[in-house]
């Protein structure tokens, strides 16, 4: 009998606690949302699986220097490899044409970042320290890789929860944003048609990533890892001479690093780290950040209309949160509800990609001021 008991002690079953079971349920819920509801499946599925793996007793997958997932985490995230490589792929996928054609829309991408800083302030009021508050605030930028990048530098203990909050809310953009957009705009404002943008040539599109790299990295050097790779990916795309690299960056490479991003992010969420009251505040503040970023983008568009002859449809301000291209699609849909012939999608892509740049700049400023 005692031999059987000793044998039982060598199994993981002996060490199962209620906390671990709760984490399994959370992991399974994320997997269900990914498969059953198609909520950001590329990330939520591996994150959910990573949560289950790290909460299996005795598996030791996150044991420092030994565990497989610890190695993915250490060399992928802690060494700042994976988020910049994801940005390489994002750059290869991004068309800056709509932004170059209508450059004043770039300010809507900046306006939405006000939500990041307001949430930073709110998180401090809830007792989070400066680094944790910055990590929570950046959720409002609606940019998963940037959130993970900043969290791994400033508050690794919040990495998992902030990543899950960011990706969950990004998936919920079509539910979170429309009520805010309708609340802040009148039907007449939603019907505003944008002036047609000019045609952007190949030379201008090719010069954009080079010029932007100089401007942004000279101003905010801490944003270099993300901006450099983002613009390199875009240069692959626009130069037209490295088709194979462009293709690899936006497809195979992006897919490979997505696997190695999701699983270790989930693996940071062990029961003792995740099951604490703070986590509920992070989710609430993340939602607050999303709503405020949407609001500040829209309000800035309305403010710009006071001084501009060519009116901007204020719905475009909501696309200033990154969440590419979901936020732009939501703007288009809400605009169409007010006027069936008002096609806002291409215009919304301008502030949408500007939002990506704005979030990276915001993260770079946090890193500069708060240190790594």
């Amino acid at each position: 009998m005692s031999a059987l008991y000793s044998l039982f002690q060598t199994t993981g079953l002996f060490y199962v606690t209620p906390g671990l079971v709760v984490m399994w349920i959370i992991g399974l819920t994320l997997i269900y949302l990914a498969i059953g509801k198609s909520y950001e499946p590329l990330l939520l599925l591996p994150i959910g699986f990573g949560i289950i793996l790290v909460n299996l007793p005795l598996a030791g997958l996150m044991t420092p220097h030994e565990g497989l997932l610890w190695k993915f985490y250490e060399y992928g995230l802690h060494w700042e490899i994976i988020p910049p490589v994801i940005f390489l792929g994002l750059g290869a996928l991004t068309d800056f044409g709509p932004l170059i054609a209508n450059p004043r829309l770039i300010f809507l991408g900046a306006g939405a970042q006000a939500g990041v800083y307001i949430t930073f302030f709110a998180a401090q009021a809830f007792g989070f320290d400066l680094k944790e508050a910055a990590t929570i605030g950046i959720i409002g930028g609606a940019d998963g890789p940037t959130t993970i990048f900043l969290a791994s530098k400033l508050a690794p203990s919040l990495l998992g929860v902030c990543a899950v909050a960011a990706y969950s809310y990004m998936a919920l953009v079509p539910i979170i944003q429309p009520p805010v957009m309708k609340f802040l705009t009148t039907a007449d404002e939603r019907r505003i048609r944008m002036a047609k943008g000019r045609k952007v040539g190949k030379l201008e599109k090719t010069l954009f990533p080079i010029v932007s790299t100089f401007v942004i990295i000279l101003l905010v050097p801490a944003s270099a890892p993300l901006i450099a790779m983002f613009m390199l990916g875009n240069l692959f795309r626009e130069s037209g001479v490295v088709g194979r690299l462009h293709d690899t960056a936006q497809n195979e490479l992006m897919n490979i690093v997505t696997i190695f991003l999701g699983v270790p992010v989930g693996a940071t969420m062990n029961a003792e780290n995740f099951l604490r009251p703070q986590v509920i505040f992070v989710f609430c503040l993340g939602l607050f950040a999303f709503v405020i970023s949407t609001m500040t983008g829209i309000l800035l568009a309305k403010l710009m209309n006071l001084f501009s002859k060519n009116k901007i449809n204020p719905l475009l301000g909501a696309a200033g949160v990154s969440a590419v291209p979901m936020a732009a699609r939501v703007v288009h849909k809400v605009g169409m509800e007010a006027d069936k012939k008002n096609y806002l999608l291409m215009y919304a892509m301008g502030p949408n990609v500007a939002g990506v740049i704005g979030t990276v700049i915001a993260a770079g400023i946090f890193l500069t001021l708060l240190g790594g």
């Binding site: 770039i106 300010f107 970042q113 006000a114 800083y117 930073f120 400066l130 030379l203 954009f208």
Partner: protein, 52 residues
Amino acid sequence: MGDGVLVFLTGLFGVFTGMTFLYLSIKITGTAVAALESKRNAREDAGQGEDK
């Protein structure tokens, strides 16, 4: 809280400054490219005129 206010204000100012510089650089690049292209078009037109 004092540090928080500083980060808040510096951050907002920094993002808008960054985006303003990016806006100006797009404008300047656009103007330079347009000037270059109009010069090239003028040269091509002049070349065609000579052929005729």
